[in-house]
């Protein structure tokens, strides 16, 4: 009979709407990170590094990139005879069929999958954080404490605590109270959205709560288990953990990788992060290239100047072009003489000759000030930017644009151009 001590369920179905045009065509976990990776590579690699060899990945929003990236799990050694990685999209049922309406509802709809592995414990993960964590250690503590559920928490600045789900604990890590985004927090331990449950307890809770609309772990399942068992513990994590859910945090977290000794070091052998990549030639820096304070992915060719930037694979920066404080994802082409400052440019976008991106001063976004609220110019995957135009700060562009889209050759700060359908 099949038996796994602990399986992981990775929630990867969210859009991540605060990443704006970056998640227009793909789910947030599929968004590129650090010149080589996708965000989902971090929890997946953590799983295999923690000896968790069975992972269900729950997808819903724009799953194509994720499906392609994960495949049968070869890069993570998750192509297993028994276990390995399984992609779990919502599916039609004979009775009521529905989309995944909440995090816990998504897990509930896959009880059969979990039952088939007969696990003692289930690890619930989300695909939106950058971190290295040993889930095995968390499991050890979960077993030791006799908990029914364990929530990974990390201490945050007291001033920031009001933005998180806060856990109040006694001296032994046992949770005594929850506060969701409290005005006056009693603790600074924030939930990381990582849970271990005794499987039968989780199963009971999900069955019990099956009719709760939008059933959610933080809002429904954890409070339920807390009420019923009073055995919910915290697991304190003190390592690097970053939420990359907004354009600003996404940009900052990428930029940190370019510092001399980054806090999050991808260059150490221990706890390697695996990803799905094709084989590429090394990065090439031409005779006139000037590249400093940057990381450059395989297969890229740099002839211009690159400073404080993160470049993915197969990026081309033409002669005389300048890229500063920017993120260029795989396959981006910056043609000769173009200047790119403080921009995030997604996959396979072409920026025409002598175009200038990131000019002028900040203006409030006319598209969505909740999403676009920094100096960043953000350009979605497969876009085309014509030659000789000027693009301001806090802008958003998606699709194939031509000179006619730029009145007097300009997209002013705070402006946007969103073209449907057309993609390169």
């Amino acid at each position: 009979m099949v038996k796994k001590e602990m399986i992981a369920m990775l929630l990867a179905g969210g859009q991540g709407s605060r990443l704006g045009v970056l998640t227009q065509g793909m789910a947030k976990p599929a968004v590129a990170f650090g010149g080589k990776y996708c965000i989902i590579d971090f929890p997946l690699s953590n799983c295999v590094n923690s000896d968790v060899d069975t992972v269900g990945v729950l997808t819903q929003y724009q799953p194509l990139q994720l499906n392609t990236h994960i495949g049968i799990g070869i890069p993570w050694d998750l192509d297993k005879q028994v276990g390995g990685v399984t992609i779990l999209p919502p599916y039609e049922k004979s009775g009521d069929s529905e989309w995944y309406t909440g995090t816990a509802n998504a897990i509930y709809q896959n009880l059969t999958f979990m039952d088939s592995y007969n696990p003692d414990y289930v690890l619930i993960l989300s695909g939106d954080h950058i971190y290295k964590m040993d889930y095995g250690e968390m499991l050890e503590q979960h077993k030791r404490s006799g908990a029914e559920a364990t929530i990974a928490v990390m201490p945050v600045d007291w001033e920031e605590a009001h933005r998180y789900g806060i856990m109040v604990t006694d001296g032994n890590g046992k949770i005594t109270e929850f506060e969701e985004k409290p005005a006056n927090p009693k603790s600074n331990l924030a939930s990381m959205g990582i849970y271990i449950f005794n499987y039968q307890t989780l199963r009971r809770a999900l069955k019990e709560l099956e009719h709760v609309p939008g059933c959610d772990f933080g809002m429904h399942v954890i409070p339920y288990v807390f009420r019923e068992t009073d055995k919910v513990y915290s697991y304190e994590f003190n390592g690097y953990w970053k939420d990359v859910g907004t354009l600003t945090t996404y940009w900052e977290t990428n930029m940190e990788l370019t510092s001399l000794v980054p806090e999050f070091n991808l260059y150490e052998e221990f706890w390697q992060i695996y990803t799905s990549a094709e084989s590429h030639a090394p990065a090439y820096l031409g005779a006139d290239a000037q590249v400093t304070h940057s990381i450059v992915g395989d297969g890229s060719e740099i002839h211009g100047k690159v400073k404080r930037s993160v470049l993915g694979s197969n990026v081309i920066v033409g002669a005389g072009a300048k890229v500063i404080d920017s993120i260029l994802m795989n396959g981006v082409v910056i043609e000769e003489g173009a200047v790119v400052r403080k921009a995030i440019i997604a996959e396979n976008t072409v920026v025409g000759k002598n175009t200038r991106i990131g000019e002028g001063t900040f203006e409030q976004s006319r598209l969505d000030p909740k999403v676009y609220n920094s100096d960043l110019a953000v350009i979605g995957a497969g876009s085309v930017i014509p030659a000789d135009v000027t693009i301001g700060k806090n802008t958003a562009i998606s699709g194939v644009t031509g000179p006619e889209d730029y009145p007097e050759g300009n997209l002013i700060s705070g402006g946007y151009i969103l073209k449907k359908e057309e993609k390169r």
Binding site: G34, A283, Q290
Partner: protein, 364 residues
Amino acid sequence: MKAVGIILAGGGSERMKGLTDIRAVAAMPVAGAYRAVDFALSNMANARINAVAVITQYSSRSLNEHLNSPSWWGFGRKQGGLYLLNPTITPDSTNWFRGTADALIQNLDFIKERHEPYVVIASGDGVYKLDLDDVLAKHVESGAQISVVCKEKNDLEAGRFGVIETDAEKHIIAWHEKEEGAEGDLVNCGIYLIRRLRLIRLLEECKRQDNYDFVRDVLVKNLEKERIKAYVMDGYWKNIASAQSYFECNMDMLDPALRRKFFYDHPKISTKVDDFPPAKFNDNAKVSNALAAGGTIVNGAVENSVLFKKVYVGDGSSVKNCVLLNDVYVGDGVTLENCIVEKKMKIEDGTCIIGDPNDVTVIA
């Protein structure tokens, strides 16, 4: 194409100045991210050859590790696959492979059990892109019984190769194996196409005569009996089995057009994929005309050089016209010129080594 591939990857070379002390020539790293054997393997995979055997013998650990999955090159697992044929002891034989023909003879079972009509034999130390479908088409069209892929001779180092004379129909009429100053316009690239059953017959004959060398005992000996024709390939071809040609080959890869042909244009050369992070260039890095593979960190100046995976170049160091293999650590204030540095070497702070561009220094 309907062929089985065999790659001869069993040799080291004294001309490599110690670089093959720890690996076979076919396992030599090339162009920052590849290994020599990737070229022969990819050419076969790109011609949809599904089953490929790699014959190894000399210092094979590194090569075996590189060939740990058929997936890197897209070979099958059930329909075909990647086979490693190592010397083995049997009730009949306790011999090592005593030559290229002997290596094939000792693996005759493998060749006999395949069903493909043709066999492509290639050496694992050539850097080239070759359309094997075209070789087969010309082979059939010209009525050849054995095709030998050749390259126009360039006098440099011709003494390392077989020099071939042909008639107007590209029939091979004379073969001068590794003689200095030999007559002939073509050199043998070590890539052969032959019908499988014919190969079996020729190898069995070779075995009866207790001969061991494929070129000398199978090809040259049969020049009159068999229709052996030259297929002249154009484009880049380099055998890397000497330290100087190995160095030159890596330097050639600084040419964007050549890299495009090998690594970007379809069908491309593939290799085992690693998970190293992007190359990192710190504040005072000054890098021009150089390749830098994954995991590399540069603080100093690098010019006209190839940096393989996970190389580190310290502050105030200057690396010029060098090939630094995987995991090389160059300390601070180091000057290196015209050198090949063996993998995992640590160059201490302040070291200065300047080699001769025409006789490269190997630091191993």
